[in-house]
């Protein structure tokens, strides 16, 4: 059975269609990533799924329960970690955790095995006020609080936003380890480099789903020649390449430019063009498309 089933869900705020006719499903035990830029509608979709918002149209079930009709039942079965840090800064680490455990009718010790890995890192600070924790620690505490009642489905809305790179990596490792417990996890993120950590991902843009697949599957959706190009004058390079007859798109990607061309274009063609435009130390190499390339391409067509 699928843990989350979304059927043609729409939600508007005034004129803005935050979520527009979205359908997708998440399998039980899956680590599913909802990836898209700010304003794509990820948070609105999350709020519908965690029963905070009522959809305008369509229906959705989580763990087999309807998010509108069975919301009361559902609220005992899901864990939700909103984008902002939403714990009590004036309560200590332990008090926060105890509070959420009691609210969900359980105790820390009852589900300790689920949070052990994460909580051991927090335990030295258990008497510290949550407000005085570092960003990474806050996020771990929030995860513990969302897990403490052993939810069937865990919703993490942009958990890694505003967290340093090391903590982000650690956080994803924690999520990977949680899969052992059979937990279904829906994670949203604006960072495409995190997509590879997920079993499957959905790319979301302006309220719509552009693609749903495994990370590799999404990469393979990209069916055009792709080159990484570098030269000394990056700005001039991007201008020249965008004017080139063979170019479809050209974006800056770290130190390289990612150049998508018509079919049949070889590195030699590109190189000749660069020499003709007097670019020095140029480098052109064919590369495999990443998620971001696919996403850019899908956005273009979308």
């Amino acid at each position: 059975m699928d843990a989350i089933v979304i059927e043609r869900i729409s939600k508007s705020f005034g004129e803005t269609k935050a979520v527009n006719d979205v359908s997708m499903s998440v399998k039980t035990g899956e680590l599913f990533g909802l990836i898209g830029p700010d304003g794509a509608g990820k948070t609105t979709l999350f709020k519908i799924l965690v029963t905070l918002l009522r959809p305008d149209a369509g229906q959705a079930t989580v763990a087999g329960f309807d998010v509108v009709k069975d919301y009361r039942r559902l609220r005992t079965m899901i864990g939700y970690m909103p984008g902002r840090f939403s714990l009590y800064p004036d309560l200590s680490v332990e008090e926060n955790l105890t509070f959420f455990a009691t609210v969900f009718g359980t105790t820390i010790s009852a589900n300790y095995n689920l949070i052990r890995d994460i909580y051991v890192q927090l335990e030295p600070f258990k008497n510290r006020r949550a407000g005085a924790l570092s960003g990474g620690m806050k996020q771990k505490l929030a995860l513990c609080c969302a897990l403490i009642h052993k939810p069937d489905v865990l919703f993490l809305d942009e958990p890694t936003t505003g967290v340093d790179a090391v903590s982000r990596k650690e956080f994803w490792e924690m999520l990977q380890r949680l899969k052992i417990h059979g937990l279904t996890m829906l994670v949203s993120t604006p960072y495409m480099d995190e997509a590879n950590q997920c079993d499957r991902i959905a790319l979301m843009q302006t309220g719509q789903i552009l693609a749903i697949d495994t990370p590799t599957g999404v990469e393979q959706l990209f069916d055009k020649p792709l080159f990484a190009v570098k030269a000394t004058e990056t700005y001039q390079l991007i201008q020249d390449l965008r004017r080139a007859p063979f170019t479809e798109t050209c974006y800056a990607f770290g130190e390289y430019l990612h150049l998508t061309t018509h079919a049949g274009v070889t590195p030699e063609t590109v190189n000749r063009y660069l020499i003709m435009h007097q670019h020095q130390h140029s480098e052109v190499k064919p590369i495999q498309a990443g998620i971001e390339d696919s996403f850019m391409a899908l956005m273009q067509h979308g």
Binding site: R54, Y88, P89, E95, T102, F104
Partner: protein
């Protein structure tokens, strides 16, 4: 039940760990009572008085001597006529004029009744009250000594105090009930609406909503600690008023406490109502201050007598909860009346709480929108 108690416990942590909250909770009533109290009760020593003695008899002499030897009064002027009194007051030195009418001593010895008139400058109302009270006591004391108990009462002295410039002495004992109303409104309505808005602002409200806690549980969990603390506050203010400022408590303490609880409940229901509308602490604060504190100060009769307001404001004052509470507290503490005289005000408070609670419950949502 367990989860509700956990919620209440958390709420106490919030309150007890925030110095500003604590300061508002317990510092404010102390400061307000002290401010209003000591501004109102000046200790009186050697107040300057004038004498208008038409009698020139034995008893008028003896009473005057007794007044002057009490330590409270100092004679600075002998006035010759009624017309002179006003001029004396206008000079602003003399606070009290004692008038013995013609034949006072004669009336006192032969008749049943003798009159003494006390005229006080009530532009300083508190001094005026104290002075007339002191003088009345001294004069009555004199009369009682002349009529030892058991013997035939020969005569009585009627003391007739009159207040000049502010004859009705509005607002004299109003301040303790007024402070009580203000503090309870502030603590109950402002603090609860702000703390609920804070949860919305920080996002913890979302987490609470996506939990088995129901919306009424969340709200009552928020309100309960403030109910207890406000009640404590109310008791503190009553105690300060009675023991520190000497306000009488002529009526039933139990009734006073029940009415205080009722008013706190009303204030809390207003706080909840505000919180169902306000999404940020700032909005909650401004709403509380604007719709409650200002009208309470200006329209409840706390500072300005309702009778002297323009008609439209008098009409508005009818919807100010504090107005009813103040008259209840005054009724119980000063007049010593019971529920029989206060049932109307009590009903109004009950009705208002009912209406506000009903609206809040209707506004409650188990979702964000």
């Amino acid at each position: 039940m367990n989860r509700f108690l956990a919620f209440v416990k958390k709420e106490f942590f919030h309150i007890l760990r925030d110095r500003r909250t604590l300061l508002i909770l317990f510092g404010m009533p102390l400061v307000m009572v002290a401010l209003f109290g000591f501004a109102l009760t000046n200790e009186i020593k050697n107040a300057k008085i004038a004498l208008l003695d038409f009698d020139h008899g034995l008893h008028s002499q003896q009473i005057t001597n007794r007044l002057l030897s009490s330590g409270y009064f100092r004679l600075v002027e002998n006035v010759r006529s009624y017309e002179g009194i006003e001029a004396t007051f206008r000079r602003g030195e003399v606070r009290l004029v004692v008038v013995f009418p013609p034949n006072f001593s004669n009336d006192y010895v032969h008749g049943q009744q003798a009159q003494v008139q006390l005229l006080a400058d009530a532009s300083e109302q508190n001094t005026a009250i104290s002075l007339t009270n002191y003088a009345t006591n001294i004069i009555q004391g004199y009369a009682n000594e002349q009529n030892p108990s058991g013997s035939q009462p020969v005569a009585q002295i009627n003391v007739e105090p009159r207040m000049v410039f502010n004859p009705e002495l509005k607002g004299a004992f109003v301040f303790v009930p007024g402070v009580m109303a203000m503090v309870l409104l502030l603590v109950s309505a402002l603090m609860t609406s702000v703390t609920i808005a804070r949860e919305k602002e920080t996002g913890t409200m979302e987490v609470l909503m996506v939990s088995p806690l129901t919306q009424p549980q969340i709200l009552f969990g928020k309100v309960l600690p403030y109910l207890l603390l406000s009640f404590l506050n109310g008791c503190l203010i009553i105690a300060l008023g009675v023991f520190l400022l000497g306000i009488p408590l002529n009526g039933s303490l139990a009734l006073l406490l029940v009415e205080t609880l009722l008013f706190i409940f009303l204030a809390l229901s207003i706080g909840i109502l505000i919180s169902t509308i306000a999404d940020t602490q700032l909005v909650a604060m401004f709403a509380s201050l604007l719709i409650m504190l200002m009208p309470t100060i200006f329209l409840s009769g706390f500072i300005f007598p309702i009778e002297s307001m323009p008609a439209p404001l008098q009409i508005i004052s009818n919807v100010i909860p504090a107005k009813y509470f103040i008259s209840i507290v005054k009724g119980i503490m000063i007049k010593g009346v019971g529920l029989g005289n206060l049932w109307k005000e009590t009903l109004v408070l009950i009705g208002m709480s009912g209406v506000f609670t009903a609206i809040s419950l209707r506004n409650l949502k188990s979702r964000l929108s």
